[in-house]
């Protein structure tokens, strides 16, 4: 099931300057911490002039679409999915 969410979240991230890689490692939402095992896609788009970074990440059982608004550096959880049909 795919569920649209719009919730602020806390994250643990690693930035590797040699590879210029930003890697989300842990995600805390509604009091629960999820280990991020895979970062499968990172894309960007503009909302007006504001650049949005979208990370499609997965724990062992869940998918999370998380975005970073570069105008205020706020992270938002936009979507979750367990990969099962509705």
């Amino acid at each position: 099931m795919i569920q649209k969410i719009s919730a602020p979240i806390s994250l643990v991230l690693v930035y590797d300057h040699t590879a210029r890689k930003l890697i989300p490692k842990k995600l805390k939402w509604e009091g629960k911490t999820h280990d991020i095992i895979h970062v499968d896609l990172h894309h960007i788009y503009r909302q007006g002039r504001t650049l949005q970074h979208v990370f499609s990440v997965a724990s062992n059982t869940m998918f999370f679409r998380i975005t970073m608004d570069t105008s205020n550096l706020q992270w938002t959880l936009e979507e979750i999915s367990d990969g099962l049909p509705d």
Partner: protein, 429 residues
Amino acid sequence: MDCLTNLPFNKKPPTKIHVDLNSCFASIEQQANRHLRNKPVAVAAYNSPNGCILAASYEAKALGIKTGTRVQDGMVLCPGLIVMSPDAAKYKYIHSRFRQLFSTYSHKVTPKSIDEFIIDLEGCPSYKRGMHTVALEMRKRIKDEIGDSLRVNIGIATNNFLAKTAASLHKPEGMDEINEVNHIEIFKSLNLKDLCGIDKGNASRLNSSGIFSVLDLYEASSDKLKRAFRSIMGHHWFYKMRGWEVEDIEFDRKSYGNSYALPLPLSTVDELAPLLTKLTQKAGQRLRKAGYKCQGIYIAISYRDFDYWHVSVTTEKALFDSRDIYKELYRLLCHSPSKKPVRTLAISCFNLSPYDIKQGELFEDIDEKAKLVEAIDGINERWGNFVLTPGRMIGTEQLMPERIPFGASKEIEEFHNSEDELRYESVEV
């Protein structure tokens, strides 16, 4: 006698690589969400029973779900089908990454659609490494640098058409070359309708001229093909089948248009006016951004009973303000003969001329109007589309999401320009 009966197959070594991302939208969704991989996934224009499926994953295709299948029919074929809404920004971004990657091999990279590219290596240093070596490296880099679950078909030939044909021979992840040596054998293995551009109608025309196979098509003279296709297209087919290029022609932009397939069966002018406003705003903004004004407008309506009505007019003065374009379109809409439930509403602006040449008006201050339009466009560009809109658009906020054009290279070019600035800001993950 037809002097083009015995033109030989192009003997030049192939320099063109066609790359085609399989099941594009569905593959990208499976790349983003690994929990969808190896499952039947469909990306549909609308996640409603009548929604049209735009792309099906391999797993869904294996169950008979194709592009164009209705969601409700897809659910019958596969009750566990996972139906997703399209994410235009994501697909554009992947397209842009493909383009960037291919640009490291050649300066002649031509997008043929959102999921297809032609890379011409002629005269490029990478050509010396061998076409197959380069093609395989491209495939590996796509997996390493863009997405490990993305699969591409690759075709190699002397022209765009045969490169595309080669890419379709073995799916998924095939790589084939059509050349002077193997073309007859490959043509023998294909049906007419396997060729891009030969639909039921063209196949029927060819059949009536005694052409029943791809080999017949290849062996037919230019004159015979012109008669069969009843146009200059026959002449083009004569060259295409022999590996000569006829598609490297750039056409000027002739029009800017937008269309919308209505999820609800609206029928009155009052009901359609907000949608017409939004379509006009979209097309008008694109028109001005590209530096044009127009002196012709077109509106088309297809009804739910498959009836169709359309009309175009040339306007007295050149239009650039969406409000003026809307007024003309609204006038046409009011004259539509039927007030039946509408399936698709489409508009277009044509007779384009450069925006910067403004002819003065006796009763209107054009400069003032232009400044206002530029200011509105500037605000919308700064804060996002439709932050400032006509009041008539109220209620359409959730309607008409951004769509990805299929096979329309002019529209693809439009978003290349907007993506160019993004590439330098990307952080790798």
